[in-house]
Symmetry: C2
Subunit: 433 residues, 2 copies
């Protein structure tokens, strides 16, 4: 049976807004039709959901993160990136188990559902357990087993993990789960290993995601070691012949941007993580100007410290104005596009993703227009980008299935998730702080 | 009767955290005692509120804003400050009525209560109606009638408004309302008018708040017109002999900062408004280093576009790290202090404000530790600063009176507020966008 949502207003995409009663018909996981006013078909033949005080928007896409790092939320702050990694994160990660990744990923899914994210891109380890969690949660996941190739042993292991993970999970959960290869970064994956990854990506026919040009130090070391920038390096290693998503790209040159545009390298912009870890501010206006596809990511909860994409959306729309002292940069519509349709392209979802239009995937978020954030309501899109928050998200559908209802996940036992994660934390670091 | 809150954890101030069961006794609007564990007194002799899954923190202080600008939320975005003011804001403000300011201020109070703010600093017009709204809401307000002195008529009117407002409202609502003078800015208040304001402030024995050094253009024009910076100008006009709060201070020199430190000028840092209006990034680490008191403000909802102080708290703790590429700047405790005790000092509240310690005002916020933002809970203060959001605020007390319960204001008819503000918007700009 078809489901008809009757709402108070509808944002189809950054350019198309119905500011008044509207309906949306979902069938077989897709949006069959949308329109202004009330549903014109036979109401008895459909499941009709009346939400006159709700605003429907496309589900948000989190284009970069490490879901199970929720386990490490708040475990280390106010430290420079490399000290943070080496003194706090790596020692704790060394203690993580498959079980921990499973529960940590479920915690992330809960948090993302609550804040209106319907699809997320992920790179971590023990990914069979992460994928099982995603399957259970009802979200879409674009998952990769993070690959490090500093020696022969780690390379062999990385290739084996990646192959087994892609083979097992690509297209699983009715297509909600897709996979990519996930070489970690140029500083952990030498050139010949990156070449092997490019070849495996072609063989398995999956895209690639990688961290690139996150810090000044990374770029300086790359220049010193290989005589080229990280962007140039991945091109030389053949990764640009593959669909490629690059996270961060904070420190890129004009020549890098030209290469990125030429090879359609997609960028996951993580403004809050880049600020908190003191990496800097990515040149997003220049990337957009060059026609590069830019999506938004939270990064892991250890470096953010939450998975709320509304915060990234707001920051993407305000940060570049402020640091460039130009209030016309990244206007509301551009930021909204980054969080939805452009994010879907970063995640390698099919082109019918990230919008609420006929034929598109039925990934729908309802926001409560009775919240003060939507009052008085001069401009719905502006209110979503500049005023709304996770607290306004009430209901979420993914592929036409309701996964959040009245602010509570339909698919998860949140009490159990909380219990297990706190139990696992006590094993990691002892109780309390 | 005393009220005893028994909570799961307690942040007294940026330096003192009880991470485990704790209690807090409120009597006569003050905190009588706090401690770890359960209340040791006779439970039958008190009103006992058991909230084992809540974290108690001091109420947040919003050190700068224009509450009734909620009426203009989303009415103009993505424009440079002066175009935004002249093309969008001033024409709409010219149509605002006393009734509009009353309802707009109530909307702001609702939004601030929901996001854990217990005290706010305000500068606007039709302030008798704004003060009536604050009295009704249960919040603390530090209010001023904005003064502009571009000609003799506006000066006389500004002085009369300020005098009548201070006389009528200073100390009203059991002391929840205090007043200041509010000369708008050096570019709307010439030096001789600022001297008159300083004299009136001394006569009425109230502090002064002003916008200072918000944009590069303001500083350039001040240098051109008066041969000094805005900070130097207010000193020359005698405002520094009065308790003084300066909003913004984005473009200040080292010499300015020395003056500010010397005269104890308090600063309201509004990071999100400064980004959105492309004003720039205030040198907060340098101000803190010099010992200047810095609080956090949202500014008006037309330039933010919400009144959520958690966003400012997070931005204060991350923005300066990012733009300075130094992850140790503005650590979590410093940001939390800005949002609480330092904010209280900016608002000229008595020294027993902004902390949950014996003898302090009973302005208390409860956060839901069952939210994913507090799981697993490695560090409570980090979770508040880097992960929590308005959606975690469940209950608020001001001066020992509960004003938010289960996320709903106790004191406001929110349905009526929404209805009236939407009605007033339709009168301002017509329905919809």
């Amino acid at each position: 049976m078809k489901t008809v949502l009757e709402v108070g207003a509808l944002i189809q995409d950054a350019q198309h807004i119905v500011d008044g009663p509207a309906y949306l018909v979902m069938a077989d996981g897709l949006i069959e039709s949308t329109g202004a006013g009330t549903y014109p078909g036979d109401p008895a033949a459909v499941q009709r959901i009346k939400r006159p005080h709700s605003l429907a928007i496309p589900g948000l896409v989190n284009a970069h993160g490490h879901a199970a790092m929720t386990l490490l939320r708040g475990a280390g702050d106010d430290l420079p990136l490399h000290a943070w990694l080496e003194q706090r994160i790596f020692p704790l990660e060394a203690k993580l188990t498959e079980e921990a990744v499973y529960w940590g990923t479920l915690l992330a899914c809960w948090e993302m559902l609550r804040s209106g994210t319907t699809c997320f891109v992920d790179m971590y380890f023990f990914m069979h357990e992460a994928a099982a969690a995603v399957a259970e949660s009802g979200l879409r996941g674009v998952l990769s087993w993070g690959m490090v190739g500093l020696d022969d042993g780690s390379r062999r292991q990385a290739m084996a993990h990646a192959r087994s993970f892609v083979t097992r999970w690509h297209g699983a959960a009715n297509g909600r789960i897709t996979t990519t290869l996930g070489p970690h970064a140029p500083y952990t994956c030498p050139p010949d290993f990156l070449r092997e990854v490019a070849a495996l990506s072609a063989e398995l026919d999956v895209p690639v995601q990688i961290h690139l040009a996150e810090t000044r130090r990374e770029v300086a070391e790359c220049l010193e070691q290989y005589g080229c920038t990280p962007i140039q390096l991945v091109e030389r290693c053949g990764l640009c012949t593959r669909p490629l998503l690059a996270a961060h790209c904070v420190h890129v040159t004009d020549a890098d941007i030209e290469l990125m545009q030429q090879h359609d390298i997609r960028v996951a912009h993580n403004p809050q993580s880049n600020l908190k870890l003191a990496s800097g501010v990515a040149p997003v206006p220049r990337l957009l100007q060059a026609g590069v596809t830019v999506g938004l990511g939270t990064d892991g909860a250890a470096s953010n410290n939450n998975l709320d994409l509304f915060e990234e959306l707001r920051l993407a729309a305000t940060l570049h104005k402020g640091v460039s002292e130009d209030a016309t940069l990244v206007p509301a519509a551009a930021a909204f596009h980054m969080a939805t349709a452009a994010g879907a392209r970063c995640a390698f979802l099919p082109p019918n993703s990230g919008r609420l239009a006929p034929g598109c995937t039925a990934d729908v978020v309802l926001l409560d227009m009775q919240s003060p954030h939507f009052v008085p309501g001069h401009h719905r899109l502006s209110d979503v980008v500049y005023a709304a928050g996770a607290d306004d998200v009430t209901d979420v559908w993914v592929a036409g299935q309701q996964v959040l209802a009245g602010r509570e996940p339909v698919t998860l036992d949140t009490e159990r998730v909380r219990y297990e994660v706190i139990r696992l934390r006590e094993r990691l670091t002892g109780p309390g702080n």
